[in-house]
Homo-oligomer: 224 residues x 2
């Protein structure tokens, strides 16, 4: 990767891959949250979960529009990531609404942090879009309240949900690893060229992701 | 029903019932379309179906906001209609994406026409909200294209989908009948007082609904 501008075909390919990955992630996030909403114990919580799904769809639309603006076919850009993201969701189908909430908060939280990290390696326009799409608008605050209330009512839940969260992280890392192997362009975005990370930098990035994950677990009242 | 203003407690109750019915219908419309979208044959059509679901959710939010503005608890207002609407969806779960599309176009089309008819029996503000929420924005145009293309590719589909559409109408009428018996306030909205419909008026209303349904079936290329 010679430069981080669209003049460099390697860079252009990497950005299209990145936008395709994010777009398909949001589209499936929409699907899964919509499905989770039907497991909510009451209509108020069903509507709150559905609202998060609707937000995912708006985020998908913004990413798709960017691909169209770049002259790309959004479906073709998403296609390489269908298998990984579907595998992640297939192996982490929540058994109940609470597991769905923890998945949204913990799983999507790690993904969002990672995408925000990646935004430092792309051109300003792409970076601005990613930061805007993945900005934390506090919509998941009700997740925190709901999970903490559930644990207060039944403390045995804390162990089960903490175990569930660890499984989510494991599956997410496993699919992230697969994507980085299958799509060299994306890995190159992070590690190639002068602006790329060295080994120490990669370690620091993982450290930041881990710290924020631990904070989220604590916020939910779960052991990391 | 002495007058169609909120001073009349019967009228106020009827409007809250109406908004609760519409809001729950949209919330479940969101759920079902989101689920249908996952059966789409490709990502483009999946995204188009998901877009309709996201629109349903925005419509739900507007109806819910109106209930809140009226000082009502949206969940309490929706509760009386959960059973009927869930029964409708439970008996009309699509077996594939095309059946889902026909359900969205034909089933939701009849419901929308009916709600627009009801809008002539409510105060101007409620009427304006209903007309705006249920305005046909052409979003379902892709349904027509998709169904017609599928039938062109496999003409035997036309018979199965026409049968399916008739079942949808039957189930919808059956639940509408149940709602009108269980919630007298809603039936009263249409037939009580000077502004209410007489028997001939009810017949004409059904005639208009039937005509528009027949037109929709023709648009899809299905025998009514």
């Amino acid at each position: 990767m010679k430069s981080r501008t669209f003049d460099d075909p390697d860079y252009a390919e990497a950005v299209v891959d990145l936008l395709g990955l994010l777009a398909y992630g949001e589209l499936q996030g929409f699907n899964r949250m919509a499905a989770d909403s039907t497991m909510a114990p009451n209509l108020r919580q069903q509507a709150q979960t559905a609202a998060m799904a609707a937000t995912e769809f708006r985020q998908f639309e913004r990413l798709r529009e960017r691909l169209v603006t770049l002259g790309q076919d959004p479906e073709a850009a998403m296609a390489p990531f269908v298998s990984s993201i579907d595998s992640y969701h297939g192996t982490t189908a929540p058994n109940d609404w609470l597991e769905g909430l923890v998945k949204i908060y913990v799983g999507d939280g790690i993904a969002r942090d990672f995408y925000l990290e990646v935004s430092y390696f792309v051109d300003p326009e792409t970076a601005g879009l990613i930061r805007s799409v993945f900005a934390d608008r506090g919509q998941a605050d009700f997740v925190v309240t709901s999970v903490r209330q559930a644990i207060a009512a039944d403390p045995t839940l804390a162990g089960r949900l903490a175990l569930w969260a660890r499984r989510l992280v494991g599956e997410a890392l496993s699919q992230a690893q697969r994507v980085s192997v299958e799509r060299e362009s994306l890995a190159a975005l992070l590690i190639e060229g002068e602006e790329g990370l060295d080994l120490e930098g990669v370690g620091q990035l993982f450290g930041r992701l881990t710290n924020r994950h631990t904070e989220r677990m604590a916020t939910l009242g779960l052991a990391p």
